[in-house]
């Protein structure tokens, strides 16, 4: 057991496995009460703070060659998953990503895309079901770490739940391709283009149109 623990401790994962957030079988725990009091935990914290950032950290999985591209020809995207679809949102529109809360329903609002109101830090926002709105196939996938995303325009924030939030990516606008014909002719289509990111086809959304649709679904 102690052999396993040393590798665990080196990785810092012990806290989640045998520590206070795990099965609490760690022998140290009895004496320390909480991982917070453990030197392993402390050194882990130090390691995070002392970490040297790779120079191109923001480009890790991004579209290659973006460095050569002028800033106004780049697009920063937050990529998240709804159902089986990966979607890219203009980062500038994203306000906050939080753990989902149960929406408070609104009387007489029985629209399928509208879920109700949610509160985040004392602010109340309408919550929509983006999967329904975009026609994503959400039935088949279960979500391990759903997140509530707040997207904003001048009128305020809208909340929606994503099944998974992946990462931020920077892409060159020149690498964005037109959506497939089948999508282009569908009405309404919220997709302006496609880009390949981390081996996945990611749809880039028409924010203006989407926000209009969000407003529409709330009314």
């Amino acid at each position: 057991m102690s052999g396993d623990n040393s590798t665990l401790k080196a990785s810092g994962e012990c806290r989640n496995v045998i520590g206070i957030w795990g099965d609490r079988s760690c022998s140290e725990l009895r004496a320390l009460d909480h991982c917070h009091n453990c030197p392993v935990y402390t050194s882990l914290g130090r390691r995070v703070l002392d970490q040297v950032l790779e120079l191109d950290y923001h480009n890790r999985d991004d579209d290659k060659d973006t460095e050569a591209v002028a800033p106004d020809q780049r697009l920063s995207l937050l990529v998240l998953r709804i159902g089986s679809d990966w979607l890219g949102f203009d980062t500038a529109r994203i306000r906050e990503i939080v753990v989902p809360t149960e929406p408070h329903p609104v009387p007489h609002r029985l629209k399928p895309g509208f879920r109700g109101l949610v509160t985040v830090r004392g602010h109340i926002h309408p919550c929509v079901d983006l999967g329904v709105l975009l026609g994503c196939d959400s039935a088949q996938t279960i979500s391990a770490s759903p997140r509530m995303v707040l997207i904003s325009d001048d009128s305020g924030c809208f909340a929606f739940v994503a099944d998974e939030v992946d990462n931020l990516y920077v892409v060159a606008k020149s690498h964005i391709t037109a959506p497939p014909i089948s999508i282009r002719d569908a009405t309404p289509s919220y997709i302006t283009g496609m880009v390949r990111l981390a081996e996945r086809d990611t749809a880039i959304l028409d924010e203006e149109f989407l926000l209009h649709a969000l407003k529409d679904v709330c009314q």
């Binding site: 408070h104 329903p105 609104v106 009387p107 007489h108 609002r109 029985l110 629209k111 109101l117 949610v118 509160t119 830090r121 004392g122 602010h123 109340i124 926002h125 309408p126 009128s155 305020g156 002719d185 009405t187 309404p188 203006e208 149109f209 209009h212 649709a213 407003k215 529409d216 709330c218 009314q219």
Partner: protein, 776 residues
């Protein structure tokens, strides 16, 4: 005005500054927008209102030169609205100059007497502009007239040397601004030391955030309580452990076997006692902390809430003077009676209230109150009485302004309505007094024969109503010929505090204003009877009809106790209604916030809030709820309610009206809705383009000149892209030259209606021609 020694005057000055800053900002923004784009009705309306309000503020303060200037400015905008005057750059320059001049004055408190020449030169320029004598090409350098004056004033710190040397006309606005900056710096420091009460401006948003945080602090404090509860539980468990150990010791004592075991057990028991004591200590400390933290969080919340409230008297300070000055000007005698000055009013409501009261008081003095000799002849005291009163009633704020003047002449009003063609004669004759009064609140409806500086440009009552409505309130008018007129404003305490009963409906929290509830009770299932398939129970000999809350609100079914129903009872006249909820929670004071405007109108819901525990609470509209319950009982059916969303309207054709002018948009919407169609609106082409792709419309009515996407582009885009290429589209435009018409029709519009020859039937006829009647 300059001898602002008293605290009251300081406060007034501060409020004047705030108002001036807002209105002048509006003016200069609007003027600059005028320079860069075509003058839209909306813009001119905004400018006219701003000038009007500025004038009002100056009048309250008794700053006649500014009243004089803004009056001409207002005239200019009105003339522009009527298309009698084109606002050329020269006119805009003069207007901006005036704006800057007033700004310099309001910020610096400059001596107007010393600048009387500047004022008269500005006034002269403005009057010229009004008369249409100010041309762009021959821009007279107004600077020449203003400059020496400015140099003479005390506020200036540095004479604008470069302007004298500069070969070009110096930008006067800049010079004035620079001087005002210097001046305001000195006066503000002076004020800081003088004033007893300091006030700072803070945005409503910031207060909202503070309130949110205060709420969260309360939530956190209640979390600590649950930790304390856990500790208590631990102590109980230890007591059990002690009992068990005690039991073991008793057995060991009886058997008297091993003394070592005995000693160990004794030690264990002692250790346990020490632990218990330690936990008890912790518990006590935690308890104390929780109490202090909780009360602090509560105080925090309360402070934020009360921080928004000010007494009614705050806005009343200017009125005695207003009434005195005005009645003197008008040759009338009037006494002002103020009541309920201590009534606490939400700051935001107060701001709106002030301009509303100002308009109403002005109207009363100008039109309502008669000259002393007339009064004497009518057997009334020569001195008239104007009463302003504020009080809280049923959780709402009521403000009444009444005068004992001549009242409103309903018949002459009726005649005006007919003369102006606002209503057909037969209908107008049948209108009740109350319905006739409604016309007074229409935009542009003014009964004053002469346009005066005091009131009577029709800007008054419609603006008052929209101000009151913006604050979520209502205004009504009652009047009796010869006796007097009373305006009755009812405002919600929105954004202030409401005492509510919180209940669970369908598993979520709702609140009902306590003042609206008759009583709340529980009813056992066996005491419920049915009559004509509606449930009721009897309480104190009265029959109370029962309605399920989740049914009437179209929510998921509740999770109430099956055997005992929790009922909230309302009373309407002599009818009693019982709203069945899952269960009650408690009585709370909630900081009310308006419902998110993006939700549009939600039937039965008045406002929203967050409860003590941080969760969302929707505050139900008791009035509307009663009506809903009533119609439910009368009709016996729920789903036939007209509220139940779009479904009932599916049989009507749906139109989209696109115009960037609110007035035009609303006029067209009303026109088409009156014709029976279902109408949505969009503010520009781009929004319309999104809307068209998103929903099924039967027809689009669009303006041409709009920001972001013009009507022509919209038509082209719809014709070129997407699956709705044959959507019928009508263009409505001011441009009625043949080439404009051609342009629109070439883009693919089915019809081109000119606004200048715009009559109600033209548009409706065009719509009818294209898609037929409103029924699908």
């Amino acid at each position: 005005m300059t001898d602002s020694s008293g605290f009251g005057d300081d406060m007034m000055l501060e409020m004047f500054r705030e108002e001036a800053e807002m209105q002048l900002g509006e003016l200069s923004d609007g003027l600059i927008a005028l320079e860069t784009s075509d003058s839209s009705d909306e813009l001119l309306e905004r400018l006219m209102r701003a000038a009007h309000s500025m004038k009002g503020a100056a009048r309250i303060m008794g700053i006649d030169p500014i009243v004089k200037l803004t009056h001409v400015a207002e005239d200019i905008f009105v003339a522009a609205q009527r298309a009698e005057l084109v606002l050329n750059p020269a006119i805009i320059d003069v207007l901006l100059e005036m704006t800057d001049f007033i700004k310099a004055f309001s910020e610096g408190g400059a001596d107007l007497e010393a600048q009387s020449e500047t004022v008269s030169s500005l006034h002269e320029q403005l009057s010229k502009a009004r008369a249409g004598e100010l041309q762009s090409e021959s821009t007279p350098p107004p600077a020449a007239a203003v400059e020496p004056e400015v140099q003479n004033t005390a506020v200036i710190t540095e004479p604008p040397e470069d302007s004298a040397n500069s070969p070009e006309t110096p930008p006067v606005a800049e010079t004035l601004e620079a001087s005002s900056e210097g001046a305001s710096r000195t006066t503000t420091t002076e004020q800081r030391t003088k004033g007893d009460v300091k006030s700072i401006r803070i945005t409503a948003d910031a207060v909202e955030r503070l309130a949110g945080l205060a709420g969260e602090a309360s939530v956190e404090s209640s979390r600590v309580e649950s930790i304390a509860d856990d500790l208590t539980e631990l102590r109980v468990m230890q007591r059990e452990l002690r009992k068990s150990l005690g039991g073991i010791r008793d057995i060991i004592d009886k058997q008297a076997t091993n003394p070592q075991l005995d000693a160990l057990l004794q030690a264990a028991l002692q250790q346990l006692d020490v632990c218990s004591q330690a936990i008890a200590d912790h518990e006590e400390r935690l308890d104390g902390f929780t109490r202090r933290f909780g009360s602090m969080a509560n105080r925090f919340s309360r402070e934020v809430v009360t921080g928004r409230m000010l007494p009614f008297s705050t806005i009343l300070r200017g009125y005695p003077r207003l009434v005195r000055d005005l009645s003197k000007d008008l040759g009338k005698r009037c006494r002002l009676v103020l009541r309920g000055e201590d009534t606490m009013i939400d700051r935001e409501i107060l701001d709106r209230l002030d301009s509303a009261l100002n308009h109403i008081a002005r109207n009363a003095l100008d039109h309502g109150i008669e000259a002393p000799d007339h009064r004497a002849a009518a057997g009334k005291p020569e001195e008239a009485t104007l009463t302003m009163e504020a009080f809280h009633q049923g959780g709402r704020l009521r403000v009444q302004i009444s005068d004992d003047g001549q009242g409103i002449d309903v018949e002459s009003l009726r005649k005006t309505i007919i003369d102006r063609g606002l209503e057909q004669e037969a209908i107008a004759k049948a209108l009740s007094q109350q319905e006739i009064f409604e016309f007074l609140f229409l935009p542009g409806f003014s009964t004053a024969r002469q346009i005066t500086e005091i009131s009577g440009r029709g800007v008054g009552l419609d603006a008052v109503r929209s101000m009151v409505q913006d604050a979520g309130g209502s205004i009504s008018l009652s009047s009796e010929r010869g006796i007097g007129t009373r305006f009755d404003l009812e405002l919600p305490l929105t954004r202030s505090v409401l005492r509510v009963l919180t209940v669970m409906i369908g598993g979520h929290m709702y609140a009902i204003e306590v003042a609206r509830i008759e009583y709340a009770t529980t009813v056992a299932l066996e005491n419920i009877n049915t009559l004509e398939s509606r449930a009721y129970f009897e309480h104190e000999g009265r029959r109370v009809a029962l309605i399920d809350a989740s049914e009437i609100l179209e929510l998921q079914d509740g999770t109430g106790d099956g055997q005992i129903l929790s009922v909230v009872v309302f009373k309407d006249d002599d009818r009693y209604y019982g709203l069945v909820v899952d269960r009650y929670l408690n009585e709370q004071r909630l900081l009310v916030r308006p419902l998110d405007h993006r939700l549009g109108d939600v039937p039965d819901v008045a406002a929203m809030s967050t409860s003590e525990d941080g969760s969302i609470v929707l505050i139900l509209d008791a009035d509307e709820l009663q009506r809903s319950m009533d119609s439910l009982i009368v009709s016996g059916r729920l789903r036939s309610r007209h509220h139940s969303g779009d479904r009932s309207q599916d049989s009507l054709k749906r139109l989209l009206v696109v115009d960037d002018s609110l007035t035009v948009r609303e006029a067209e919407r009303q026109l088409l809705e009156n014709a029976g169609y279902q109408v949505d609106v969009a503010v520009d082409g781009l929004e319309a383009w999104s809307a068209v792709r998103l929903s099924d419309y039967d027809l689009v009515v669009t303006d041409v000149d709009m920001p972001r996407m013009t009507g022509i582009e919209l038509v082209k885009r719809v014709r070129a892209e997407g699956p709705k290429r044959d959507l019928p589209m009508i263009i409505v435009s001011y441009k009625d030259r043949d080439e404009d018409r051609l342009l629109g029709l070439e883009a693919g519009a089915n019809h081109y209606v000119s606004k200048s020859s715009f009559s109600d039937s033209d548009l409706v006829d065009a719509v009818y021609e294209l898609i037929g009647g409103p029924q699908r």
